[in-house]
Point group: C2
Chain length 570, copies 2
């Protein structure tokens, strides 16, 4: 069968798994007519009960089910419905298994009715998964036509539709309800999500823009509240970009914190810079709930790459003590990087940095400029890893079906295989990476000479991209996320504001290079208006507890400031 027919057949199968009564009767209006599909737009198709459930944060969903106020079945049905709507609006799903989910939810309700207590800390929580997770009963295509009906492109009847990724087992044990898998770009190597099966996943908040990639399906689905929490993966920014683009909190933990065991991947075995798995959601508290739950399963006993590192409340406590400090000497200190020296961020992002600077300063914390070793070195190191194998892995996956590679990908891998890198060159890149990490760490340590506390900064803050979201056709720059992948830090992206075409204007822009000028030229206030603006908050390696405490605190500060401005305006 030609690849087009196979892709069409798969798409039809996905769409036909949406119950008739959840199907939209008329096409979604164009972006010009209806830019924002979140909130009121999607809610028009839901009952008030469904809205109440799906607008709720993950933490409260679990609480409501675990105290018997809500039934897991109702929660599952509500999210299945909203996810079905989301998919019809922005093409964000690869696999739909609502029936299984509802069955699982009923079983949870029965358990609860019988025992009076929840199965685990995620009892009844719907969790969406990027289409790298293997879940029994459904395909994992990762957007490759050639992977349809196979196990990672191979005819492996023992594993196809039966094998489950380690974290899937853990999520089930914790009481989570799995119900869908979300879209990814071909190869996972893009800041936009598109493939020959489902097409393009648009940004639901502003449909002029991309939902990001590679966890773009997650980003769009969670943004539309078709999922309260889901898992993405991040190699060069694939959790952070979709999280920032969609107004979500997303955590890129250090590699070895959460179990990647048994996920499908591109270029598996490239181990200079490892892809990591992490949750994306609507609040830092939801991310904490999820990570604590996963760690309670002792994943280090089931994934050989996970470090034996349970959740550390003492790290949270220490951070909270700094937050509560009475003097600048005992409060938090932050590095602020407004520009990486390569490409300047668009005006809304600079304003987001201003907001963060203002609220942290007002709260008595210390901010210092962040001028670390050149991020260009890190970008070069990470980008070299992308093509160690000369495209062997990804070209092989395209050849399975003969489907074409998008030009959003081919700039990386070329139209055919190239020469593979030799062992000694890979070793050299590994040494360069370690040297960069060491210099960066030394720089971080050196900030103790610039803080009043005499401690190095607790975290640093920088843009999550040059643009608030990738805009199809415009020149892009992903260096703000890519560079940090070489450092393996614990990073949370957090939403700060939305684009306001009236105030986010390009005034006095001075390009620092042609590349910078090109990226800047892609910014048009009218086009970007209303889109989300996120930033990256970065703690050291394996400081997931600390970065989440700070993210939550910073969110409160921003929210208070926002309320204060609104009151002042009113």
């Amino acid at each position: 069968m030609a690849w087009e027919a196979r892709a069409r057949e798969k798409l039809d199968a996905i769409n036909s798994s949406i119950p008739q009564n959840w199907r939209l009767n008329s096409p979604v209006p164009s972006a010009e007519e209806q830019r924002d599909l979140t909130g009121p737009y999607i809610c028009q198709y839901l009952s008030s009960e469904e809205v109440e459930i799906t607008e709720c944060h993950a933490v409260y969903i679990v609480k409501n089910i675990s105290c018997g106020r809500w039934r897991a079945e109702d929660v599952a049905r509500a999210f299945c419905h909203r996810a079905a709507l989301a998919h019809q609006m922005v093409s964000c799903l690869h696999e739909i298994f609502f029936d299984t989910a509802i069955k699982d939810a009923i079983a949870l309700d029965e358990y609860f009715a019988k025992t009076g207590h929840p199965v685990g800390p995620l009892h009844g929580l719907p969790v969406s998964l990027k289409d790298q997770f293997h879940v029994k009963g459904v395909d994992t295509t990762m957007g490759y036509v050639g992977w349809i009906g196979t196990f990672q492109g191979k005819k492996d009847t023992a594993k196809h539709k039966t094998y489950e990724s380690e974290m899937v087992r853990e999520l089930r044990a914790l009481g989570a309800v799995l119900y869908c898998k979300t879209s990814v770009p071909q190869t996972l190597m893009s800041a936009e999500t598109m493939n020959n099966i489902i097409g393009y996943t648009w940004n639901p908040k502003n449909r002029n823009l991309s939902s990001g990639g590679s966890s773009g399906g997650e980003g769009a689905l969670i943004s539309l509240k078709g999922s309260p929490i889901g898992f993405g993966t991040d190699y060069s920014g694939s959790i952070r970009m979709p999280s920032a683009f969609n107004g979500l909190y997303g955590i890129r933990p250090s590699s070895g914190r959460l179990p990647y065991q048994g996920l499908a991947n591109s270029m598996d075995g490239q181990n200079t810079v490892l892809s990591v798995v992490g949750p994306m959601s609507h609040s830092p508290a939801s991310l904490r709930l999820m990570i604590k739950a996963i760690l309670s399963q002792k994943p280090w006993l089931y994934d050989p790459l996970v470090v034996e590192l349970p959740w550390r409340s003492d790290q949270e406590g220490e951070t909270l003590r700094y937050i509560a400090g009475r003097t600048t000497e005992t409060k938090l200190a932050f590095g602020i990087m407004r520009c990486d020296g390569i490409v300047q961020s668009h005006p809304p992002i600079m304003r987001a940095l201003d907001i963060v600077t203002k609220v942290l300063t007002a709260a008595g914390h210390e901010l210092v400029d962040w001028n670390p070793p050149s991020h260009q070195r890190a970008i070069d190191i990470v980008q070299a890893c992308w093509v160690y194998d000369g495209g062997e892995d990804v070209h092989g996956s395209f050849e399975l079906s003969g489907e074409p590679m998008s030009d959003k990908i081919s700039w990386i891998f070329g139209s055919e295989r190239r020469e593979e890198m030799k062992a000694s060159a890979i070793a050299k890149n590994n040494v360069a990476k370690r040297a960069f990490q060491k210099e960066y760490m030394d720089y971080w340590n050196s900030t103790r000479q610039r803080t009043r506390s005499g401690r190095p900064v607790d975290a640093f803050i920088l843009p999550a991209g040059a643009a608030t979201a990738t805009r199809p056709g415009a020149r892009t720059y992903a260096g703000y996320t890519t560079a940090l992948s070489a450092l393996d830090y614990s990073i949370v992206t957090l939403p700060v504001t939305t684009v306001d075409k009236k105030i986010d204007i390009s005034e006095g822009f001075q390009p620092i290079s042609d590349h910078d000028a090109n990226v800047h030229s892609g910014y048009e206030p009218e086009i970007y208006h209303g889109g989300h603006v996120g930033l990256q908050l970065v703690a050291r390696r394996f400081q997931e507890e600390k970065v989440l405490v700070i993210a939550e605190y910073l969110t409160d500060l921003i929210s208070a400031q926002h309320s204060a401005s609104q009151s002042a305006e009113a």
Copy 2:
């Protein structure tokens, strides 16, 4: 200058740094005349005060200095003297800097006299270092003639004799006294220690045998008590073999526990299986002292590959509770691997396994057979890493001087460069490694079905080699250590007994392969008599605290059993 002259010049420089009054006046007798140079033999050249100091374990040395009973200077002088003797007996040193050490010790004494307290937890403790550590003022040759007078083979005047490895900085901050660097085999890739500068490092307990490799200089020096504790590194067994061969406790921590930052290495940048750094000493308590001390320096702030994992007393406490358990259900459980299915160990090692089995069983602990996934797969994975670069790195180092490669090395690297491995083949090996680790971990978990406690085994025990020590010229087999490197477990080697030619005889040996028969044929009770017999004790990844508690407990059991047998005989 020809390589022979450069090597000779370096050797002369090493030897001439030994003070005249510490030089031996007559040659060391042959192995036939004096097989064992430890204990009384080397002590004949020392004063009773020097013997008292140098026979003391690291923990007590620090205690004696930190309470003011001993002066750091006297301790330094005693160990410098004994190390000088050791080197003259078995060629175990590459760099000698006794003058600096004594100056440093005097400064520590002055600090103590002035403040009344020690500089840190290692105040005044002499620490020897394998010649991969960079220490200011001296070369790092790693046994390469071409590295003499350079920084890792490169003319780098900014770093040569000025740069220090991260752990060197930490050891100094902790109060340690550095005084010598120890010998290694060419390339570090051998179970014997020999190079064209210092020749061959013999086993001081039984000079028919090798001191092992690649931390063979450490093994020999500590065995002769020319050092109370020292650091080796371990890629495929390079801490474990010399520790076992020399009757020492050595720990191979998981990679990322202790800082390797800034050490010289072979094939740097190969990152499928990382070399790790760890201490070797006379007791588990000394290893614990050292690791706790290093971790108190928060090495994760200075080495990007170190995990933020402080010393965990709770892991020790939990292990101690199992040890003290009242029933088999609450006591420890062990896997015992008597043979890896590839090569059987020599009779003294089988007896050591019997001893351990006996004492653990008598103490009420549970033992189960250990039949994990084939170690041959792990050996193949690790050996593939050795030659990823086709010998590029090591041949380059030989070419700097034109010196020849020993035939103990050339079986690995060939006489010239071979084709390098391609990225996709390396990726495949990385995936194979992870799959092996996962299967092994699943096997480990499955032992919960075989223990009475329902918990998986706490640790497993196996030989540290097929032979108690490498014997020059005899067929060797290092698979017992090599295989475990693929698993990155926390491993302690511990001495169990010594070879007794009367009881350790080859009775009823049935070869399982030609290789097995060949290795077995190298065992001659008369030749091996008196040599040390060690075993590996293996805990899971990052369980350094647990494995040390068990090692200490097991040592006490063995020691009690030994005393009981002696009483019975008397």
